[in-house]
Symmetry: C2
């Protein structure tokens, strides 16, 4: 239905566009009016002024050097690759400066450089460093960079074209832009029509070129796909790549990247064809896309490093400056303003101007992160990600992420039912992220390293369960893409945030169910902790490994262990070949506690063990011939030979070390008792007790639950009765 | 000469002291007048107010709980240990609050607690957890803590005693303080008369007790030693423990600790016996003691971790608050004020009041760190420490520390001619510091770990040369204390900071000479680097290992290497047993470059190699049964079978990685050529050249140099002639 409307709107709108292009005024995201207002308001608006100065510094630096457009030769990180990237950024900043100041030195530079590209481009073959099975570019080894180049350069051209002589404009449009559009949208048909971030960059660049060149066909193909049937193109990408909650299937790191072409192209559409209502599409999807992305950050403002992700990336990245500004302009969501204020810059765009005005009228530096259940899948039925967040006594928060999302395409990791844990600034249970040194040429040209596949993507590189030393879905994207985990239940209250999910397809005959609860007991509400119940269920015996990656230093264990004198790998395949076995222990029946120190705080994992439990300490670095892996540590709980096993673990932050005062608080785990007190086909009951506090019972219904059904269970003297999937109550 | 004067002054002064004690007004470091002024000025002085509020929060917390004085049972980190430490801090803050507010709830608490101690103390035997060969305490496992307890408690008593009933005062003075003074100064005669930080705490505590109790004998013994002959005691400690440059023989970490009793007792002396001129003693030694200590910090304000040191300790530590305030009060050195402003607190003392007034009258947040040559040894003839510091393009600094100091007593490490390197916030070449988790009971009671001796103190745990896998002076303190390295020459100019030192006694038949130069070439003045020339000279062949500890991740090497599939230890003893061999290579003749990434910057070491050179990558963790060692990495250059060898290395920061912009700058070493172009008995000449820059020659005179002698040398076509120990010039 929506589709039909869009098709009609697309055609009627084009008459307006053609007119506005003739007037030669900018048609994309910085209008002549906005540029004039930025010029006049920046002297009294700190945010506009700093944003202007930022671009001015860059643009002025640009003018000092001659225009250089080298013949493409190098892969990522190499000279010509970096130079062509630099060139589009240089043109963009120079064009902004011209728009705001009117100084023709800037527009002259842009025109000259575009002409140089117009001379070079038609002669270019595919890039010499292109890789097999990866879409090639001409200026760059991969086509993706080509689309990004066009994305920025067409914006620069939009701002300066009326300053360029007609003859030169014709040459630039014909030899450079139309050639490049053809390469990106026709020669690279497959990428252009792909439902993937590479496709998003391609359609955004081509669609914006269409507006600037006044080419209706380009715009239509960008919005509705090469065949103009809506089966591919921008709208289809909006349909397929985001969940109704605004979760992007590849995960936050790539969402951060893709959000830029999504928001900027949407802004260009809204500017040129407002009647399309692009910002209202799918129930204001683009609003949720931005707010959900911002929520997917830890307390250092870094995106959660699930799937392929560079770990240092924060919401201060360039892409977010554009995205948050446009989101504010379009949705007037004041919750975005603290992020923009923290960033200290706005984009020099219509949206940036409006946002800067709003920031100057408001206060508040603190961006509010909240507990959230974010569903994955275009229809919201492909699992999701849960963010469990509670305030703690340090004035920061305990944050857990529970991932039961879909595969996330080629950049997805095999980490079904994995968790991450943060305590304020501290990473407590970590993800390796991606094995990649972005743009460092010495590290395989800055691309994903071999170890990304052999380690970082494998299940053992995550905080989840691995059966038989084999990754989920055998580490095959095609298999993993067929199924997503299933949300069993969730409940978010002040004293408990609980989520339970099931993954029955990661292994042929092992069903996995994980229930993660963040709990703040009435007796110690400022000391939240995590209760983690991981069930593996099969008809045949398996080796089950529950892995916890802990940054930090071992302080103590409640069990004896043996250190290995010479270190060798834990296994042969599926990531195990990269782990050195550092130590192992057999704790026997009871509960095993492991305590470590990280960032001047203490953390403990207390786990139920039996006679078969083995515990391992491992460290990355084995079979790593080029030192491509960072050295990181894990604690691994192994249960061998069982058909079914329930791992019960309690993970608690519990103390601190102050090096200035030389004081240590609570270095020992506070957990005195952890027990599985009942287990049958229908129910699991766990009891736990902290020192000097009453014992609690957590009862879980196994499998599906009738929300209205009443459950009754006798535990010793105590009768438990409850409605719903779980019960947390004091033990009597 | 000075001695005689002091003896006379000491006796005449005592009449005054006796009078002032009778008036029952405080006689130590917070006078009644100053307390009154703090009270009235704090409302308009932010620093006084925050300092007052800091103590008030602590004191108010104290009043919420009953007085608890447990029977001593636990070692460091355990309950009774921490509680007795807490108690003296509680009394101190409560006493401050009483002095400033006059609120008798605070003084009542102090009196009550002191009475409880007066009841407990006479009955106490030596502490049950005391250790053999370590001076024991009664409240604490070690006597040191006992002296610290007295140090604070006597100050608390000084402030409140006129509020305590005469009968209780008599009891407190007799049963507690006099008993404790006897234990510290008579029973523990040896520690009390030791020239060591334990001795400083003891004499400071006892001396201050003497002023408060009006006991002339106590004061005399504290100032001039038990025998009152000046051979031990406070003045002798000032004579022996500091160099004329204010360097403390144990190094900055312990200087930070000892500076508190030094400064506070000096302040008490000046208050009660101003005619002693204690702050003018040894040419204003205590001024230099504080300023030199502050200079011995990196750009994170952390003390350089040479010798036994906890690495997180900054100049914001409590001790420095007292020390900087007193130093300002006494010497009016405005360079101290930025440190005090950064700290955000002053001590609630006479000195703190004066300092806060000064801070409020001035501006400036930046503490100025400068290049320095700091001599060690009570007469300045025991080597020293050089701080080479140059500004860089990032707006921060490249900082090198070159250590050619004396052994530093029991806490000294065997790191003769070792270097450290920092680049802004980044540790580039690191020191392990001490193997200790201070006050973490699970880690051997928080004491120094076994691995401190077996690894952290050993030469291989440092950035220096090790012959035959044996530490300097065979790792024996008694041997190491017999000799110090010798400064050969130093020269500090804008474009070069160069220091050369020799150590001929660390090995029976190996002489070591290291020359470290920080250079800022005219062509790139903002990119300083380090040229490191380490000569080992012997009549017999040895295995020479030059070690560089690098935090960070290997990016690339100019040479091939083999990774070990199973890891085993590098050696059997002297720290080598704790290093896993990770990889090794034989580069052959030429220059070998190793590049790593740390803190988003790139660093390279380029070293001359020959056919015998072997290169190793190592990692700590071998033979570490309790995971006591942090995992850290080293690059080791081994030269086997040579009698004499000159290691020539160039260490350069050269680029950066910006994860937000995803840009990489200069990831490759800029060094194109490094050569030893001339070597004979008298001279060494090294040439080096960076990409796109002219080549340079560095000529060194070997051994002693006649400052006025003229040196002449023909290098190819070029005639070098110079005066002095070295020449740096362009190659023609």
């Amino acid at each position: 239905m929506q589709f039909v409307n869009f098709t009609v709107a697309l055609f009627t709108a084009f008459t307006m566009q053609a007119r506005s292009a003739q007037q030669e005024l900018p048609v994309l995201i910085l209008s002549a009016d906005a540029a004039r207002d930025i010029k006049s308001e920046k002297s009294t608006d700190a945010l506009l002024e700093s944003s202007f100065q930022y671009s001015r510094r860059k643009a002025d630096e640009v003018l000092k050097h001659p225009v250089t457009v080298p013949l493409p030769e190098d892969a990522g990180g190499g000279y010509t690759h970096e130079k062509h990237k630099r060139n589009y950024a240089d043109m963009y900043h120079a064009a902004l400066l011209f728009s705001i100041t009117g100084d023709k030195a800037y527009s002259g530079f842009v025109g000259e450089m575009l002409l140089a590209y117009a001379r070079l481009y038609p002669k270019l073959p595919l890039h010499p460093m292109r890789k097999e099975n990866h879409p090639a570019g001409k200026l760059f080894w991969q086509g993706l960079n080509e689309a990004v180049w066009l994305f920025y350069s067409i914006q620069a051209y939009d701002l300066v074209k009326h300053e360029i002589r007609r003859k030169d404009r014709d040459r630039i449009e014909k030899e450079l832009f139309r050639n490049m559009v053809r390469f990106i949208s026709v020669d690279s048909y497959e990428t252009f029509n792909k439902i993937h971030n590479h496709g998003t960059w391609a359609v955004a660049a081509v669609g914006m070129a269409g507006y600037v060149l006044g080419d209706k066909d380009m715009v239509e193909r960008a919005v509705r796909g090469s065949e103009k049937d809506g089966k591919t193109g921008f709208l289809k990408q909006l349909d397929e790549l985001f969940s109704p909650d605004g979760y992007y299937s590849e995960g936050p790191y790539y969402q951060r990247y893709a959000i830029l072409p999504f928001m900027v192209f949407a802004e260009a559409i809204a500017q040129n064809q407002p009647e399309l209502g692009i910002f209202e599409y799918r129930d204001n999807l683009l609003h949720k896309a931005v707010t959900t992305l911002l929520q997917l950050t830890n307390q250092n403002n870094e995106f959660y490093p699930i799937n392929d992700a560079i770990k240092d990336k924060t919401y201060f990245s360039e892409e977010l400056i554009f995205a948050t500004n446009i989101a504010y302009e379009r949705y007037k969501d004041a919750d975005l303003l603290p992020v923009i204020r923290q960033t200290g810059r706005v984009s020099l765009t219509n949206a940036g101007l409006i946002t800067a005005r709003a920031v100057s009228r408001t206060e508040g530096e603190t961006y509010n992160r909240i507990p959230m259940l974010i569903k994955d899948g275009s229809r919201g039925d492909q699992g999701g990600v849960a963010l469990l967040r509670m305030p703690n006594a340090s004035g920061t928060r305990l944050d857990a992420l529970f991932k039961f999302a879909s595969q996330g395409m080629g950049h997805g990791h095999f980490d079904r039912l994995g968790i991450l844990l943060y305590d304020g600034d501290n990473e407590v249970l970590s993800d390796y992220g991606a094995a990649r040194f972005l743009n460092v040429e010495a590290k395989d040209g800055g691309r994903y390293l071999k170890e990304n596949k052999s380690y970082a993507k494998q299940s053992i590189a995550h905080n989840t369960l691995v059966a038989d030393e084999t990754s989920h879905y055998q580490g095959k994207v095609s298999e993993g893409s067929k199924n997503a985990p299933e949300l069993l239940f969730s409940d978010f209250r002040e004293d408990i945030l609980i989520v339970s999910a099931r993954e029955n397809n990661a292994y042929k005959d092992v069903n996995m169910t994980r229930t993660v609860a963040m709990i703040a007991m009435e007796e110690a509400p400022d000391y939240p902790f995590l209760l983690d119940i991981f069930e593996a269920d099969s008809d045949t015996p398996h080796q089950y490994d529950l892995n916890f990656r802990y940054p930090g230093q071992l302080m103590q264990t409640s069990f004896p262990y043996q250190r290995d004198q010479t270190l060798s790998a834990m296994g042969k395949n599926n990531g195990y070949q990269h782990l050195f076995k550092m130590a192992s222990g057999k704790p026997g029946k009871g509960q095993a506690t492991f305590t470590w120190l990280e960032g001047k705080k203490f953390y403990s994992i207390t786990t139920l063990t039996d006679e078969d439990t083995e515990l391992f300490f491992t460290q990355t670095g084995a079979h790593d011939p080029h030192f491509n892996l960072r050295t990181e540590k894990s604690y691994l709980i192994r249960q061998s030979g069982a058909k079914t096993h329930v791992f019960v673990s309690l993970i608690e932050p519990h103390g601190s070390f102050d090096p200035q005062l030389e004081t240590v608080q609570n270095p020992d785990s506070e957990v005195e008792e952890l027990r599985l007190v009942f287990e049958d086909e229908d129910y699991l009951v766990v009891s736990f007790r902290f020192r000097n506090r009453p014992a609690y019972l957590m009862a879980l219904c196994r499998g599906e639950t009738d929300e209205d059904g009443l459950h009754k269970l006798q535990i010793g003297e105590q009768t438990l009765s409850w409605k719903g999937a779980y019960l947390l109550t004091r033990k009597q």
